[in-house]
Point group: C2
Chain length 282, copies 2
């Protein structure tokens, strides 16, 4: 049965939103709705226009016989700025500061709406790069990795500090924790990452960068390639950071352990992505 345009637009929108970065051939929609390719093309032009106006995503057209459309989620400049400001505000709330200069983030990183935004924001930065997997270390980086992986539509892998018997064979590396100056060990299941993969490292909180540096060693052990490093928040770190090229959404710039308060501001995300966000706004 031929499907009406209004019904097609609704179902098409849902279908595309659930499959970011996936090439969908026009013939697929044409069959699904028993409609002519020319009608489908018109539908997609409307979807493209609406997504662009609302700054929620790009609908990319790939021409030719093997072509189709691909939905690429983005977060626009205004929304990005607002979200980062909101998060800086949330982090500056009283009672977040924990012993050792850590920040309580479990509430934010357990809220679907916040995770959706973090994922969409980080994915926007890497939308045109070859990311084959998102990597993080257990436990608190996992929600961020999962959300980014959803928007890039690639798998995520979890590095562990504890040895678990339920992972099968693993590859491990030693790393130095910059904050504690101790040597630690982290490992990743052998079969979880293929050689040559492009890997995006994400984490919830970076202090000295030791953990991120450990993941970098693991990527080298797997003969994979580092695409980038993105963290939700970077802490106030007085020493030399082990990692220099990273992106942070939020930066904790003042910690007062006596008054038990902290002050958070925007990280370097907007600076790093200024040109990209200008381009996307066009």
């Amino acid at each position: 049965m031929k499907v009406r345009r209004s019904d097609r637009l609704i179902d098409m929108t849902r279908y595309l939103l659930e499959r970011p970065h996936t090439l969908v051939p026009l013939t697929f929609f044409s069959k699904r709705y028993e409609s002519a390719k020319s009608s489908i093309s018109e539908d997609l032009a409307i979807v493209r226009r609406t997504f662009a106006q609302r700054q929620t995503g790009i609908l990319e057209t790939v021409p030719g016989a093997a072509g189709g459309v691909r939905y690429i989620p983005i977060m626009g400049q205004v929304e990005a700025n607002d979200f980062i400001a909101e998060m800086a505000g949330r982090l500056s709330e009283t009672d977040r500061l924990l012993p050792g200069g850590y920040v309580y983030l479990s509430d934010l990183l357990g809220t679907p709406e916040v995770l959706r935004q973090i994922g969409r924001l980080i994915a926007t930065q890497y939308l045109d790069q070859k990311v084959d997997a998102v990597m993080t270390v257990a436990t608190k980086g996992i929600p961020i990795a999962q959300s980014v992986s959803q928007y890039l539509n690639v798998p995520f892998v979890i590095v562990r500090r504890d040895s678990k018997i339920t992972e099968g064979s693993t590859v491990s590396v030693n790393y130095v924790s910059a904050s504690s100056a101790r040597i630690e060990k982290m490992e990743l299941s052998k079969r979880s990452l293929a050689a040559g993969s492009g890997v995006l490292i994400v984490d919830d909180f970076m202090k000295g960068g030791g953990t991120v540096n450990g993941m970098r060693s693991l990527i080298a052990e797997f003969d994979a390639k580092l695409v980038g490093i993105s963290v939700f928040a970077e802490g106030n770190f007085s020493g030399d950071r082990m990692v220099s090229d990273y992106t942070s959404l939020i930066r904790v710039d003042e910690v007062d352990t006596k008054a038990n308060t902290l002050h958070a501001v925007a990280g370097n995300y907007m600076d790093k992505n200024a040109a990209r966000l200008e381009e996307l706004a066009k």
Copy 2:
């Protein structure tokens, strides 16, 4: 500027899909698109019809001054059956069996498409219950908890077996691991769960049920209420299970440690939800 119907339908669909179980007043859409309430009502009727036809969700109407619409994601009967069969097949693949009768699941539980389906399927079971939080234990239950929490649009909380300094004060319980018969400890950050909350427990794999039972004790410690227990897979367990009322998507029914193979079948999900799925299909 007044927005055209086609554009409204696309943006409305996206807006609703991103906010499951959230009441959106008609006046919100009416302002957003500068369109009459009557037009918005017609739009929503089309969205409702398309969602119902494709069995992707229910668009519930709440009448009255404080009313609006609410999108409730579901997975239809056919899709549910197909997905469970597919997963049983994937689990039966060679090389998944690990020492101790565990099953390698990290690839599946790191794939966004698989997680989306698991989340939607589990959320369908609890769509009309008062779930305030999804609870799981680190590490491998996290992706499932996050996905279910997205579809129910409630926070998730992570119980930990190791003590981490970055969680603040915690409440801990001891529990007996049924598989190893050892006494273990698990804990949850004090501020992560309010008294009286309805809690849904999810996990990746259940053997004797000791871990799930531990979470049940934690829920009692927080004066919260258990709404249900859902696991992705239940293992072959010869002893007495500590938990009897649970739902599983997959059941591992044969394990041959000599040949290093296992055989997985559908869990009790379809039986438990037969009536509900029939009802939703109408």
